[in-house]
Structures are given as C-alpha cells and as structure tokens.
C-alpha cells in the first residue's frame, strides 16, 4: 500500500510558486478566467503504515509553523481542477535517496518513495484548456515528467534483463549496413565496412555490446573524426586540424604540465601546485531538456577536473550560452524546438542548482543571442581546478590493478548520449532520443569528490577517468587501453533491476567515475568512501590482455582488441572549397551620403545609445550572476561585479585559491559567433583577442597563461568545414603571435537543424578561454572608475572603418530596413601591435599606475566608458579627436563611439602626464575626464553631441534581464 502525503503552506501568500504562475497567466498570457492557483508538494511512501506516515509528516515532510499536511485525502476544498506532475518512472528523482535515509534515521524503513508537485486551478476552465495552459506555462517537460493520471500501485521499477543479441553484419550488403547504423550508431558506410571486415576476420558476428562500444568510441563526440581527418582545402592538402593546433601549442610549452592527453589541460602554478581547465558543451540534451542538460553538462565538466591526473579539486565554474532572442516570436520556432526564453531560464537554473549545491563558484560567463540558435542552442560549461603537481600527470593503471566504479547507481538514463549528440537535430530528435537526457544529482557528485580527494591525498589512486558520454564502455575502454581489461557487469550497482547487459555497459547515468586502484589499497579506499556515504563497486581488473573483455554473469558479452577499438577507425578524408558566394567587402559604405543614417540630434544620439545598451548582447547580465553562488570557497579577489553600487561589470575574475598565499589565478574568455559567421578567420582572431584582452585588463599576465579552445560548429559539410579550417588557422596564428599555447579543447560539430526544406545552421562558435597565474593578487585592478576628474584614455588602435557585425550597425540597419548580410568588413586586429599593447598594459597595471581598466567589446568604446561610470557611480566627459590629429581621424563620430575592435582598452589614470609617460610607445588617445556629476557627455569639435544621464542609461541597460529574472 502506498501512503500519499500532501503538504501546503498555511498562508496562501507563502505559496510563491502559485503567485508567480498567476502573475504569468494574468500578465503575459492575459487570461482572467483562472481566479486562484494553489500548489502542494506530494510524497508517496511505499511499505509503511498510515501511522508511520503520520510520524514522517510531522517530523520530516512538514513544519507546523507555516505548513499543513494531509494523509491519503485531499488537502483543499473542492471546486478545483488539479494536476500532479511527477518524474516519469525510471527517471531519477534526486530527493528520494534523502527521504529514505532520513526516514531510516527516524526508525522507519521505506521500501520506496517518490515526490511530486500538485497544481490546483480555481475558476472557469475545462480540463483540456488547463492542460493546454500547463503546456503554455512550461510546467511539464514530457521528456522527463508526466501528469499522474492514475495512482501507481507500486513505485518500484521492475523488469527482467533482455538477452545479449548477436547482430548479423558479416554477410549483409551496404544498404543493410547503413540501416543498422542510422539513428542508432551514427557511423558512415566506410566505417561500417571496417567493422564488417574485423568480424569477418574473427569469423563471428558482433554482440550488441560490441557494436555499441565501437559506435560510441568512434562517434564524433568521442572520436573527433573531423579534427583528425585528412583535409583538402581548395584542392590543397592541409594537416589535420588537431595536428596543427598541437604542433603550434607545444612550441610554447614552458608552463605546460599536461596538454591534450588528459580530461583537462594542466599548467604549472606556484609552490608545487598545478592548475587545470576544461570547457565542454552539452548542446543536444539542453535543446530538449535544458534544465537536465545544463545540470549534467556542468556535472560532467566538473568531473573532467577531478578526473585529471590522480584527482583535481574543482574551484571555478563558468557558463557560456548562445541562444535565440528570448522574445522570439513562437511562429519562428521550428517544430520540435523549445522557446528560447524557457531554455534561457532553465539552463541558468540547471547551472545554478548544480554549481551552488557543489559549492563551486560560477563566476565567469556570458550570453550571446542570435536567432539562428533557435533550433540548437550552445551550452558551454567550463571548469577550473587545482591539484598538487605530483598528482597532475595522467595516471597509468598497472596490470593487476582493480577497476573500481564510484558514485551513482546505473539506470536506463542517458543511453546513446554520445552517439545522439553527434547527430544533426531534426524534429524527431525530441521524441526518439528523449532517453538521452537525465536530471543531475549534485550531492551525489559532491560526496564522491570529497571521497576521491581524501583518497588522492593518501596516495590511493593510480588512475581516474570520468564516466560520461558512452558510460562504462567509454570510461573503461579508455582507462584500460594500454593494459586490457576484464569486466563483470553483474557487479555494477543498479538503480532498479531489468537492465540488459548492453544497457548497463552504455548507460550514461551521471555522477560516476572509474578508478584504477592497487589491490593493496582497496580496503583503505572502501573505508574512506564509507565515511562519505559513497557507494563503490569492483568491476574487474586491468588484466594485461590488451583486450576489452566484458562478462555478464560470467558469460562473455564483448571481446574486442583494444588496438582495433582505439586505432581501427579509418581516418576520414574531407574536402572543402571556398564558397563562391563569399560576401563582398564592405567598401563604399563609408560614403558621405550614408551619413544621413547617423544620429543627428541629441535625442537621436541618446535613443541610439540606449538601444545599444539594451541590446541583448550588451545589456547587464547581473540578475543572472546573482543566481549563482559566485563567491563560495572565499577565494574571490575580483568578482564579476563590483563598484560603488556593486553593479559595475568586470572583465575577468581573479581568485586566491591558497588563502594564505599571495598567488592569483585569472580566468576570462571571448567569443563572437556573429563575426565568426561573416568572417571565420578574423572573427576567430577577434574572439581570441577579446579573451586575452579581458585577461590583461584586470592585471593578468598573458606570458604565464594558457588557452582553451571550444569549437561549436554546424555539421561540417563543405561550407562549414571551410570556416572551421579558417578558424583553426586563426587560433594557430594567434598562438604563434602571443607565444602562448592552447592546452585543451573540445569540438561539437552537429549544430545544424534539418527538417524538410528548412536548414538552420548556428553561427559558428569559437570560444577561447584564458587561464593563468600571477604572483600577487594585490596587483590586479577592476573596471570601475575610481576618482573624479581623472583622465580617461583609449589604449590601442580601433579599426574604426570596419563596422560589420557590430551591435550599432545592426540597430541602425534594423531601423532603416537594411540588411547587414552583404557586408563583410569586420574589425581586423593588428596582431603585430597586440603583444606590445598587452605588455605595456600589464606592466603599467603591475606598477599601480592604472586606476581602472576595461576592454572594448560589444557595444564599443562608449559602452565600455558607460560601464566604468556605472561601477564608479560617476559621469564622464568625452572629447572626440578633432579633424586630423596625427593618425587619428574621426570622420564618423558614430563609428568612433560604437566600433567593436577588441584588443583596445579604456584606461583611467591620474593625469595626462602619466598617460604620456606610460603609453609613449603604443597608440593611445586622451578622451576626457571622469566627472562627479552622473552625466556622460560627448563633444565633437567643441560642439556637444549629447549628454545623457547615467541613471537613465543604466535603466536601459539593466531592464532586459531584470524583466526575465525578477
């Protein structure tokens, strides 16, 4: 018998969820027929008496100060329609384990339990209408949840495992081979044929386990086939992308501890420590279940840090999203895609709920909007870590070591995640692949990390591997590559019975890792895990056979040569040519006659500036940062926001991980998908320059920093492969210019949507992240203006003429019904000049001459100045350079103010003399002064262009995200 408990707040005013739903219904959906909503939390308990349920209701589920409960009967008076929304059976509900443990503490043994939420609607509406309303309110995500229509008889998920099946592939034709691959294995014909040949040689057919293992090891997600492919670009052979990146990176290896070989890139830190970084996307799951997708993505990238060397500690989390405009018309949303505002809110909630629970500060990130992300959003999560250097090199299992699985139990969740995320998205994706998504359980991961780090410090861990995409098949396949393994699947701890061997082997159930531990250390390791309530299971040994042997109940279900698995994948040969439709350069735009479009009156200037500041890509993201615990661990030295009113945006973050030492770690990033689409080479240079500018602007030293590159691209057809090639070249040139290495990276090349004639490719994303070390955190600066009447300088040389892809031009063109597509002249960064500027800036910041500094990016020079004014809560008076002042000629004040060349900085110094002395060897320009009066004024040739109140501008800048997140 199941006991059902319902809990509600005594005072309807405390039912916050119902209040916000009613608000949404009234304000956004304009529905007045619903008079009232209430919500209840429901718990179902199996295996207890009603008396026991009463005790649990009083002691655990409700608090009589502000709540009331009912057992097995309704809690409200009639006249409502109610819906109960629960996780589908088999989807892990993170609360369940806590409830069972706590009931046990109170002396009550539950067989099983579940929790859910009930919604009560009062007013004139039919059931059908309300179900539709639930959909509009996005209360239900059918991927993981359902409306409970019938009381369940039991909460236990049962089933009996299927047999391992043999799949005939030896004597089938091409068509049948491709039928086997489609929607399941995602391999191409030549790859399928290699598999066929392998089994022909073995004189047997593969088992489902074997075929799935090969498919996931060879998937784009795990195998990075495009990056390893032999490339022909415009008829000429070029080195594989990954080789180009590695070759260049290793030329600049003075700080590298480990690059491209482990789960994250590691560089040297101080006093026997090393720091590491990793960026990872989770786009496909986030497209269909953004909350679960963002959670599991975040959890996965944290495990990459812990899964580095013999175990690292995760100390920073970052989030970078590219989404469609949150106010996109539903009519423009392709079939099978979720509304962007919903995705935005849910991915942020996913990152926040996971990072906050883990106690890892989410302190750096950004959001970029473009409507071509409407079908496939980009969700890029990053993590940074620290570890003693002696534990920083990738571990190698020894023959005889034990294979240990640690962490969560295995269910049917996330099967085919790795192969799924390598496929393009269609309108069927959300239906067919829904099992590839799951909800994360941060606490499971937290206690697992606690146990791993204690075991590491006792020297118990030989090697460690994250269990992510591909599940055990990938984790064990990788960690045992050199030795070979024998694995017994019956030892895997399951969430519920009934999983077939291949499901256990492939399941991507989260919060698990695989370790290699010496036999002698197992007892001690078990003891530590027990202390932290962490479950482990011993799955087998590293046996020296160089084979991957998998048993289920002692019966062999897979037996593959490691060499074939890891090196049997044929190298792809890919061709690409420059498309003839390359957009013409933007010359001629600068014509006098176009000046008519420039703001003319003070009103027009202010209104244009406000439009730029309130543009999605420029507006303040502060309300989002406040949802993240960005200061937990107490390491913050420069926070994402600071200044007089705590709302001035900083360019990067600085932390002091070793709390008693002066050493700092700096983290920043840069990307611009819009520029990348127009010009993949200079767009990528822009992104890398933006990243390093953010880094140097706060006092980071680029000579002691490393890069992480993440490529999120449309499916690499000829056109997209061409831009990918250009982007990789740009990253190599950037490394070579600044003599700094990329030490880790990841590619996700499936961001294309296809349905009938509709093809949507995302603007390609290259995200460059920078991290590194500085000897003294006190020699860092923030972006807020510090003093009244100090001097504001522009440092660097903006490419004023080149405005394509800028926020300003988009606004200007939209207002005049022009389209931006035909222009290709995005700002070019002078790579010869860049190292000089960065070096000077770094030196002058270290010597304490710079009061504040901010780099120029989206929104341009005036936006940077505005943000510094916000931080300082003061105004600024700017003079445009008049006529021909040496090399500075400003023919168009609008271009001067809104140009978005990265690698340029706004700097505050005490007086002009200091500026002259500091910057004599690099381009710079005195712009004006900070002012006490909260007014930003811009003068051109002694004529006032405009003067705008800071508070008015601030309101424009803060409003868009406040509307969504408050």
């Amino acid at each position: 018998m199941i006991q059902k408990i319902r809990v509600i707040s005594t005072n309807p005013n405390d039912d916050l969820l119902s209040k916000s739903l009613l608000f949404e219904i009234r304000k956004n959906l304009k529905i007045n027929s619903i008079k009232k909503i209430r919500t209840a939390k429901a718990y179902r308990l199996e295996g207890v008496t009603e008396k026991e349920a009463l005790l649990l209701s009083q002691k655990l589920f409700s608090e009589k100060i502000n709540q009331i409960f009912s057992i097995n009967k309704s809690i409200f008076n009639k006249n409502y329609h109610s819906f109960e929304i629960a996780y589908k059976p088999g989807v892990m509900n993170p609360e369940v384990a806590s409830i069972i443990a706590s009931a046990k503490n109170l002396g009550i043994n539950l067989i099983s339990c579940d929790s859910s939420r009930e919604y009560y609607f009062y007013g004139n509406a039919t059931i059908k209408y309300l179900k539709d309303l639930i959909r509009k309110l996005n209360l239900l995500n059918t991927t993981v949840e359902h409306i409970v229509e019938k009381e369940p008889k039991t909460l236990i998920v049962r089933g009996s495992p299927g047999e391992t099946s043999i799949i005939s592939i030896r004597r089938v034709g091409d068509e049948k081979l491709m039928f086997l691959s489609k929607d399941k294995l995602f391999l191409n014909l030549s790859e399928m044929k290699v598999i066929q040949k392998y089994f022909n040689k073995l004189k047997r057919d593969p088992t489902d386990c074997e075929l799935e293992t090969i498919a996931q090891t060879w998937s784009e997600h795990s195998g990075h086939k495009t990056f390893k492919a032999k490339l022909f670009v415009d008829g000429k052979e070029k080195k594989p992308l990954i080789e180009r990146l590695k070759n260049e990176a290793l030329k600049h290896g003075k700080n590298i501890v480990s690059a491209f070989v482990d789960n994250s890139g590691v560089m040297d830190f101080y006093e026997g420590y090393a720091i590491s970084a990793k960026g990872e996307t989770h786009n496909s799951p986030s497209a269909i279940e953004p909350y679960g997708g963002a959670m599991t993505g975040t959890g996965g990238v944290f495990r990459d840090i812990v899964g580095t060397g013999q175990g690292g500690k995760t100390i920073i989390s970052t989030d970078i999203f590219c989404l469609a405009n949150p106010n996109l018309s539903p009519l423009l949303l392709p079939k099978g895609c979720l509304p962007p505002k919903y995705i935005l809110k849910r991915v942020i909630k996913g990152v926040a709920d996971y990072g906050n629970r883990m106690g890892i500060p989410t302190s750096n990130g950004s959001i970029h909007f473009h409507d071509d992300f409407r079908a496939k959003p980009t969700v890029l999560v990053g993590a940074y870590g620290i570890m003693p250097k002696k534990y920083a090199k990738r571990g190698k299992p020894k023959i005889g070591d034990v294979i240990v699985s640690i962490g969560g139990r295995v269910g049917r969740d996330g099967i085919h995640g790795a192969t799924f995320s390598s496929g393009e998205m269609t309108d069927q994706t959300i239906i067919v692949n829904s099992q590839a998504v799951q909800i994360g359980n941060a606490i499971e991961e937290k206690r697992m990390f606690d146990a791993i780090l204690e075991a590491r410090d006792k020297d118990l861990i030989r090697a460690i591997q994250d269990c992510g995409g591909g599940g055990l098949s990938s984790a064990i396949g990788e960690i045992g590559e050199a030795t070979g393994v024998s694995v017994e699947l019956k030892n895997v701890l399951l969430k519920y019975q009934g999983l077939s061997p291949w499901e256990i082997w492939l399941s991507e159930s989260q919060e698990r890792m695989i370790l290699a531990i010496s036999k002698n250390n197992i007892k001690e390791f078990e003891r530590i895990c027990k202390k932290y309530n962490v479950e482990i299971s011993i799955l087998g040994t590293f046996d020296g056979s160089k084979k991957l042997k998998v048993y289920y109940n002692k019966k062999l279900v897979a037996n593959l040569d490691m060499n074939f698995l890891h090196h049997g994948l044929p190298q792809r040969v890919l061709k690409t040519v420059c498309s003839n439709e390359k957009v013409p350069p933007f010359s001629g735009w600068n014509l006098e006659k176009q000046k008519v479009l420039m703001p003319q009156t003070q009103q027009q200037w202010i209104s244009t500036l406000k439009k730029v500041l309130s543009h999605d890509n420029v507006c303040s993201k502060e309300p989002i940062v406040r949802l993240y615990d960005h200061t937990v661990q107490g390491t913050n030295i420069l926070q994402p926001y600071g200044g007089e009113k705590m709302n001035g945006r900083n360019d990067a973050i600085v932390i002091r991980r070793l709390l008693v030492k002066p050493y700092g770690m700096v983290v920043s990033h840069g990307l611009n998908p819009i520029l990348n689409r127009i010009d993949p080479y200079f767009g990528s240079i822009w992104a890398a320059t933006e990243a390093i500018s953010n880094y140097v602007a706060v006092g980071g030293d680029y000579k002691n920093a490393s890069l992480i590159n993440n490529y999120i691209w449309p499916f690499p057809d000829e056109e997209s492969l061409w831009s990918l090639d250009k982007s990789v070249d740009a990253v190599c040139d950037f490394m070579s210019t600044l003599k700094m290495p990329v030490i880790s990276g990841k590619d996700s090349l499936s961001s294309t949507y296809r349905k009938d004639n509709l093809v949507i490719k995302i603007p390609p994303v290259l995200c460059i992240s920078v991290f590194g070390k500085i000897p003294d955190v006190k020699k860092t600066i923030s972006s807020d203006f510090k003093k009244e009447d100090s001097v504001i300088c522009l440092v660097g040389k903006p490419d004023f003429e080149n405005m394509a892809g800028s926020t300003y031009l988009e606004i200007l063109f939209n207002a005049n019904n022009l389209t931006m597509k035909q222009f290709s002249n995005i700002p070019h960064i002078d790579l010869k000049l860049l190292p000089k500027i960065l070096t000077v800036l770094n030196k002058t910041i270290k010597t304490g001459h710079i009061l504040s500094c901010h780099d120029i990016s989206e929104g341009g020079l005036i936006t940077a100045i505005f943000e510094m004014c916000v931080g300082g809560n003061m105004g600024a008076q700017i003079h445009l350079p008049g006529g021909r002042m040496d090399s500075w000629k400003v023919e168009r004040p609008d271009y001067f103010l809104f140009n978005e060349t990265s690698g340029c900085f706004i700097v505050e110094v005490r007086n002009e003399k200091i500026a002259k002395k500091l910057f004599k060897n690099i381009p710079y320009l005195i712009l004006g002064k900070t002012k006490k009066e909260k007014l930003i004024t811009v003068k051109n040739k002694n004529k006032n262009l405009f003067g705008a109140g800071l508070d008015e501008l601030k309101k424009a800048c803060q409003e868009p995200m406040k509307k969504i997140f408050n």
Binding site: L60, N66, S98, N105, Y532, V632, G634, G643, G872
Partner: protein
C-alpha cells in the same frame, strides 16, 4: 584557560563552506577540524572533545524537502543528549552559518534552545530565487551574544566612500548566498525574541534602518531578521557569511575604499577569545 580552543566544523553530504569556515577559525587562533557527521555517528569523534561546534553553509543532503531538514533530523535523532550536554558546558559555543543556521533552527536549538521542538523556520526567499550579493547588517547593540565584541568599531563594507570615512556604528557588510533565508515565526515568538534581545542582525538599507525592501532585505525576512542568538547568548545563527570576509581582498571594493580590517573576522576572534577566557 584553554590555549587553542578546539573547533568541530561539521560536515555532511553537500556541506560546502567547510573549508572557508575552517580557515576563518584557523586565522583566528583556533584549532579547527572538519568532521563528518558519520564520524560522530560511529563514535570516532565526539563533541566532548571540542569547544566550538560550527555548522557551515552548503546544501546538506541537497536541502531535500526543505533546507537543512535532513541533517537536523539526523542530529536530533542521534545526538540530542550529546548536544544537550555540550550546550550545558560553560566552555562551549555553537555557530551556524547559512545552511548551518537552517539546521540549528530546525533542531530547535535556535531561538530558545528547545531541542527537537521547532519554534521558527527559514523558508523560501520572497523573490522565489537564490540570491548572492553583499548586504548591510545592523547589529543589535543590546544583544548579549558573546560573538559580537568589537564589531561596533569596524568600518568599511558596502558603504559609500563618504560614509566609510565616518562609519555608522554597529553596521557590517557581509554576503548572502541562499535561496531559503526568510526568517518566519509567529508574532508571539518574535515578540519574545525582541524582548529578550535574541535578534542579533537585521538587514538594513543605505541609511542603516531595518528594511523589508528587496534587495537590501534579500529574502523578505520578518522584522528584517538575518541572525539570532539563544537566551544564553552562546549560540549564533545567521544567514549571511562572515567567513567569506576574513581577508580584506574578499570584498569586491577593496581597490576603491579603505577597509581597515575584514568585518567577518571579529566574530571568529571573539569566539576564540571567549573560550580562552572561560
């Protein structure tokens, strides 16, 4: 006289501010140790050996059901007697920060020391979401909470430069980082707490007045309550995080204002001093 007071920093699954709390006590001259609740349950460790019980922030057991509930049930189920003995000793103090405060309230130890009998609760922020920001707190000058000596003279924090030069007394600036921090109790309970000066910290606005206005009051706490003590003055619970302000550079504006000393530090220093003098 106790040379180095021993501090038990209690850890459970999901506790995540333990290291910075450990550091705060270390910096203040204590002898802290992070102890997992399982080590108490299997008697490897005992409260008897310690002077201070510190329950850090985080999400103990995921804050499942409501924040701090599962850990509070665990403590009252297994450690009622031990805790009672601990609080009866004269050389002991208890502090609960954020999640630790939620646990203390749910065990009943705060506000009135009624073990297993909850008198108040901490519930969802009125905003409906998690909030991480710096806020100003006013300290009740009549509180007999032993943690507060010296806090009245500190300055700095999230005050404008002008204000920082003439610091209003009894105001400190800390961070909050929580989703369930709204203090809630019956009118009588709050009245009793007021009368016995159990309310220690209140959220205040720019002028130093207790406020219900978001975001100065980040969660809608009744009577702007941010932190409370018990009738002995030896148990303190608060939502804001003093352990995140024990070094000057932890403040976002150390570059633009003069912060003579980090404002969270005296709380821990006072605790150590108190034990030493017992």
């Amino acid at each position: 006289m106790i040379p180095k007071p021993k501090v038990l920093v209690l850890k459970a699954d999901g506790t995540n501010c333990d290291e910075e709390l450990y550091f705060a006590f270390k910096l203040s001259g204590g002898d802290p140790k992070i102890v997992h609740v399982n080590e108490l349950r299997n008697k490897q460790e005992s409260l008897k050996r310690y002077n201070i019980l510190a329950i850090p922030g985080g999400f103990a057991y995921g804050d499942d059901i409501v924040s701090g509930k599962i850990l509070a049930v665990e403590l009252t189920s297994f450690f009622s007697e031990e805790l009672k003995k601990f609080t009866e000793r004269k050389d002991t103090l208890i502090i609960g920060i954020c999640n630790g405060f939620q646990v203390l309230v749910r065990t009943g130890l705060l506000p009135f020391g009624t073990m297993s009998e909850m008198q108040a609760t901490l519930t969802n922020n009125d905003s409906g979401h998690f909030e991480c920001r710096w806020i100003n707190l006013k300290i009740n000058p009549n509180s007999k909470c032993v943690f507060l000596n010296g806090l009245n003279t500190s300055d700095g924090g999230r005050l404008s430069e002008r204000e920082a030069m003439t610091p209003p007394r009894w105001i400190v600036s800390f961070q909050v980082a929580h989703g369930e921090g709204k203090f809630f109790a019956s009118n009588e309970t709050i009245k009793t707490m007021e009368q016995s000066n159990l309310i220690v910290f209140r959220y205040v606005d720019d002028k130093g007045k207790p406020t219900q206005k978001y975001p100065d009051n980040p969660n809608g706490s009744l009577h702007a309550i941010a932190g409370i003590t018990d009738p002995t003055g030896r148990i303190l619970g608060l939502m804001p995080h003093p352990e995140r302000f024990v070094r000057i550079e932890q403040h976002p504006n150390w570059r633009r204002m003069k912060i003579p000393k980090p404002q969270g530090l005296p709380i821990f220093g006072n605790m150590i001093k108190y034990i030493k003098n017992e």
